[in-house]
Symmetry: C2
Subunit: 330 residues, 2 copies
Amino acid sequence: MKDVASHAGVSTATVSRVLNGHAAPTQETRARVLAAIEELGYRPNALARSLRTTATKTFGLVISDLVNPFFAEIARAVEQEARAHGYCVVLANADESAEQQTTYVRTLLDRRVDGLLVCPATDDAAWMDEVVATGLPLVLLDRSVPGADCPVVRVDGAEALADLAATLVGAGHERVGVIAGPSDTSTGRERLAQFGSALAELGHPVHPDHVVHGDFRWESGKQAAAKLMGLPDRPTALVAMDNLMGLGALEQVRELGLSVPGDVGIAVYDDQPWFPLLDPPLTVIAQPTVEMGRAAARCLIALIADEQPPDVDLTARLVKRGSCGETGRG
Amino acid sequence: MKDVASHAGVSTATVSRVLNGHAAPTQETRARVLAAIEELGYRPNALARSLRTTATKTFGLVISDLVNPFFAEIARAVEQEARAHGYCVVLANADESAEQQTTYVRTLLDRRVDGLLVCPATDDAAWMDEVVATGLPLVLLDRSVPGADCPVVRVDGAEALADLAATLVGAGHERVGVIAGPSDTSTGRERLAQFGSALAELGHPVHPDHVVHGDFRWESGKQAAAKLMGLPDRPTALVAMDNLMGLGALEQVRELGLSVPGDVGIAVYDDQPWFPLLDPPLTVIAQPTVEMGRAAARCLIALIADEQPPDVDLTARLVKRGSCGETGRG
DNA sequence: TTGTAAGCGTTATCAG
DNA sequence: CTGATAACGCTTACAA
């Protein structure tokens, strides 16, 4: 920067002013400075700038699992919205681990990001205290945690789950097995509770033995399906509460040589562009991932602008594709 | 930091020494400092530290498309390996756009990352000059660019493509349609060339009309398939040179009411855990994504350590699952 | 309109 | 072993 200044015959202060689009400098000096910058190929040091201004124009995004396409879509949407507002996104992948999440949150705090977007791995909110202590704007995404007081962007699946319950019952399913998420996540608990009560209301309560908790990943879904289908009074349909567990369940069912939906129906939470191409096309509960990411980013931007954005509640919806036998029987 | 210093009755220099694990401080002063840090909940400012040390302990990773699961897997692997070596990864998503890629590279340079990992969106290497000018360690991943002189981590698919060609011919396919990648990407060109020459050697050269270029994304694959299947002398098999285009092609073929592999065979480049669950299970060329990511990160670390790491060449392999009719006919 | 100078939170050099 | 002190590269009153 000193080089640029001397090259243009001005002070560093003027260079800085040109760089930051201040009104002060003359057209003429501005041109000289710009020319010098061009000639020297100068690029400002964002570190030094941030140290001085205490703003990094960066968001930290901590997601639970990057290879889960649901979160990948969210990440992309967050990043697009952030960029549209001049922010850059540092993405951290917690891999569904609470400790790793804490580590990352700390790293991001140390780097002085301007705001934090977190999809909490578990209910354990120890990491939140540190964030709150620094007063850093924070938005929770997808999952909430018990005593948190910060904006939350989530999706309400109650209605969709009720629709699914009705569809299953309508298709003649007597016993529905549920592959639920971890009970120390809000989505794990809520989806199970909402679906359970919807089925109960229809007179087909879920049998306690027909509920297995997984960890939102493929392998756990596969094992859960194995367990459920090994039961003497096995379910006639399986509902997995996230896409990875659903795929694991489908794989297991196939390995058992069962046909879907003939021998057993399957429905899963989350949709993917290629789900219609599966054998069979899966009936799903679709979440508005792009809207989630965008809303969360906007929420954080509002928070940074000292506004008080409300929670965002989006709605999931049922997409029937026949994997529960609903076309044939319902 | 000043607070910590006065709390512990030492100077900031000593606090710094404790923080950085210098040998100097006494056990006793060290303990006092640590206690003060704990009590005040002090966290060092990574920005200031980096400004002083000119090291950020951060890699920049620019990928072509985050929602392409192939790249998501790579990103995850890079991040794991980097973390194991004490580096943090800033992920930027170019969305297959050259301009966006340039923007991001610049942003990362400005933030003074310690090294850059790039999956180039196109052959256009204008962005590289800026990187080279700064002398920043750079590693290319998945795709190479013409005159680049920096380590490249790539996958050799020649053998797998030859296997695929033989399999297709063996299954009785007379006319193979190719949905290739953009010809301004190394992978787009190479895969087409290698596959083409393999088929030619077997006496079944690809007809020029049977080659359509896409952009490595779903929609382009779908359109390419529509075009190819609309031909009077349409192909008996379609080979898509990446997973997204392959899925698009499969969707199109299904919409046309064609059966796979009965009416048309399909094979795609890239594998995914759920490909066996598709209808039909797809025959693919699988790339070692995790190894790619890890190797690239290691390569960058070596470069930073002033070593001269060689290029890394991994190998893809054919996985037959029957979508080309190879079980029935081959 | 422009320049001077202080300071952002660290680390590193040099005395003590 | 420890403490002043000078950078690191930038922004921003304040003065001119």
